[in-house]
């Protein structure tokens, strides 16, 4: 029996912050104190609060230690584990109240969350199937295989109201029904695929689920396979996620060893095998038909629909494709029932949604909230607000396919319908917070640079349209555009939306349209006044030295292009023809005497 358990976050955020070395140091320190058999060490998936990583939690006390360093391990072992005293200096402090919080569940960050898809993340060791099984893992698969008919499984998923978490929100049960009804060819083959090609910049929900609870996805895929009558599955995962790839591979091997994958699962005669395929960094492969083309080993270009994948998908066979987070809900729905799931959320959007909270927010990390929670709750209560006392300007959802939610709509309940109504989309769950220092035209330009690069080039509206859109945006941010350009740009947006072949092109203009809708005055300021109100667009900025200058020469010494001149103890001057607007002078000035206009 272990008397204590030490959970160390092994998610990518904490891992990059040396949590692996912290784990090793715990091993050493426990051995040095003869505690190896008394204390269990577990490397878990993501706890969610990446901002204060690396995170260590010690049970049974549930003490939540944040920003732990390798050098702190000795003290944690000697004080907490040997003497039974909390190491107060390392306990998590609430950003606003400065209050020390002992347990994870007491923090504001966790209080308003409801964890369904993330239920095991940060709780179990993802590399040990026994821990998953101990938390009801594979119970749903057993129930489905022994007590339910395939159609009953689909009926439960339909009744739960589960919708695709990858972005578009298509009802999952309906998708499965179409594929079940589809007639297979003479080979009888149908495929189950999992979209783990999380390409949306700033989103890491799927990665965290695969890293923290890989068996949940495997179990759900097996359930889906049973429901539609398939015996082969593929997980298409980004090569950029090495930890997730390794954990899902370990999990597949373990499930095979236990007879939960492979031939004749649990002696029921049901076969299901699973293969991992790596993506290679193409955003368009998140689109379902492009993903399938990519698994086929070709350039990941989308195909026109119809025929829909439910009838003619991977290798031309009937196929379902669901996103990681969608799958992570399935086993819970089977076990707890459709009514339980449908009791959470809003009228048309049931259950919870995971968001990757990033950008200008105190608690960057992973949060799971019931659908219908307001943006205000997410940003102010869970997220801890905007750092450095800055003002909230907008939140961006849906990545390059989405739009922004401006400050005056902060009380809108987040669900599929509401977000669509205000010109954004749910998307896969990236939620980037922006403050007054972010220029909305620049953000739109950032996303267009992305979609222009990632356009596969197959259809003209997207390939040429995104390039032209970006040209307009470059013209605006460099102060060379006219109001006519603005009108033309808007028309082009609608043209691309209506004519592009796949989701990438059809949604590519969204960041522009949405910023135009809420921040048109910023576009006008760039065009008419030749000013960037947020002070981001370099071509429209100029740096000046005010009378507060003491002549300390620091700025002149730091200027990379020698654009600043002036004698000691006299006011300096910036030569605007030489200035490259890098801002180094302003960052270094101790008297606040340099301003950008």
């Amino acid at each position: 029996m272990f008397r204590s358990t030490v959970l160390i976050c092994g998610g990518t955020g904490c891992h990059s912050n040396h949590s692996g070395e912290i784990y090793d140091e715990f091993v050493n320190q426990l051995a040095a104190n003869n505690l190896t058999n008394d204390v269990m060490l577990v490397k878990t998936g993501c706890f969610g609060l990446c901002a204060v990583g690396p995170v260590v939690i010690i049970y049974p006390e549930g003490a939540f230690y944040s920003t732990v360093k390798v050098d702190d391990v000795k003290e944690l072992v000697e004080e907490h584990l040997i003497k039974g005293r909390l190491v107060r200096r390392l306990l998590y402090r609430d950003h606003k109240t400065e209050e020390m919080t002992k347990a994870l569940s007491e923090t504001n960050f966790y209080k308003k969350q409801t964890r369904v898809a993330l239920r095991n993340c940060g709780v179990i060791n993802p590399e040990n199937i026994d821990e998953y099984i101990a938390y009801d893992g594979y119970q749903a698969l057993i129930k489905v295989l022994t007590e339910m008919q395939p159609q009953e499984v689909i009926d439960v998923i339909k009744a739960s109201g589960l919708r695709g978490r990858g972005g578009a929100g298509f009802p999952t049960g309906l998708k499965w029904q179409f594929c079940r009804n589809a007639k297979a060819d003479e080979t009888g083959i149908k495929y189950v695929c999992c979209n783990a090609d999380e390409g949306d910049p700033g989103a890491f929900m799927d990665r965290s689920i695969l890293e923290g609870d890989p068996h949940a996805v495997i179990e759900a895929m097996a359930i889906a396979a049973y429901a539609i009558g398939s015996c082969q599955g593929f997980i298409y995962i980004r090569a950029e996620y090495p930890i997730a790839v390794s954990r899902i591979r370990i999990a597949i091997d373990q499930a095979k060893e236990y007879g939960l994958l492979g031939k004749n699962i649990l002696g029921t005669g049901f076969d299901f095998d699973l293969e991992v395929r790596l993506g290679s960094g193409a955003f368009v492969c998140g689109e379902e038909t492009a993903l399938m083309t990519s698994i086929e080993g070709k350039r990941g270009e989308p195909r026109p629909r119809p025929p829909f994948p439910a009838n003619k998908g991977l290798f031309g066979k009937p196929t379902i494709l669901n996103n990681v987070e969608t799958y992570a809900n399935v086993a819970q729905i089977i076990l707890k029932g459709a009514d339980w799931f449908a009791s959470m959320g809003s009228e048309k959007s049931k259950g919870t949604k995971v968001f990757a909270l990033g950008g200008k927010i105190v608690n960057t990390g992973l949060v799971e909230i019931p659908m219908g929670t307001t943006l205000r709750t997410v940003i102010e209560d869970i997220g801890g607000g905007i750092p450095h006392g800055k003002k909230f300007k907008a939140a961006q959802t849906g990545g390059p396919s989405g739009g922004c939610i401006p400050a005056h709509l902060i009380d809108v309940p987040i669900d599929y319908e509401n977000l669509a109504a205000i010109g954004s989309i749910m998307g896969s769950g990236g939620l980037i917070v922006m403050d007054e220092d972010n220029c909305m035209v620049d953000i739109a330009k950032f996303f267009l640079e992305f979609t222009k690069d990632e356009s596969c080039g197959k259809c003209t509206p997207c390939r040429i349209g995104t390039t032209r859109l970006l040209e307009y945006l470059n013209k605006i941010t460099s102060g060379k555009a006219t109001l006519q350009d603005l009108d033309d740009m808007e028309k082009l947006c609608y043209y691309i939306k209506d004519n592009a072949l796949c989701g990438l092109g059809q949604t590519a203009p969204n960041p522009v349209l949405s910023t135009l809708r809420y921040f048109r005055d910023e576009y006008i300021a760039h065009i008419v006044d030749k000013k960037c109100p947020a002070g981001v667009c370099k071509a429209l900025l100029s740096f000046e030295i005010t009378d507060a200058c003491k002549g300390c020469t620091l700025c002149a010494r730091n200027c990379p292009v020698n654009a600043i001149s002036g004698a000691v103890r006299t006011k300096h001057v910036i030569d605007k023809s030489k200035c490259i607007k890098c801002g180094v002078c302003m960052d270094n000035c101790k008297f606040g005497a340099i301003v950008k206009k």
């Binding site: 996620y241 290679s280 193409a282 350039r299 080039g457």
Partner: protein, 165 residues
Amino acid sequence: MAKIKLTKVPFAGTPEQAKQLEERLEALKSVPGGLMPALQQAQDIYGYLPIEVQMKIADTLNVSLEEVFGVATFYSQFTLNYRGEYQVSVCLGTACYVKGAGDIINALKQKIGIDSGECTEDGKFSLVETRCIGCCGLAPVMTINSNVYGKLTTDQLDGILKEYM
């Protein structure tokens, strides 16, 4: 679509690498859709995908070189360029971008003296802009080979690069 830049460094594969590639390709011959895994494994072996390697893959898997080249240039993870001893990758995901990753990449271009996608003449450093690597909590982030540097500011760069000089 990104522009294709071709490497100027001559191909210098070893017999061991050739043998390794041969073995892996043999195993992939019968796998449906085996071209992607083949390119991924070839890049693991050589670090990049020179035309010589692409020709070998085309021959073994019995697909045209045109198709191999088409796939190799479609995906951003595949590189036709020689990679430096130290690969400096700057994340340009949204979270990093709003926190100043643009300044970081510009400063690095100046400090290392190459554009992104290029390699220094001595083969020491190459610089790439990457898509979101998923540690948005640490934004802005860069990696040098497998070392991760988070919450970066431009004034830290000299100190970090010095470790690899």
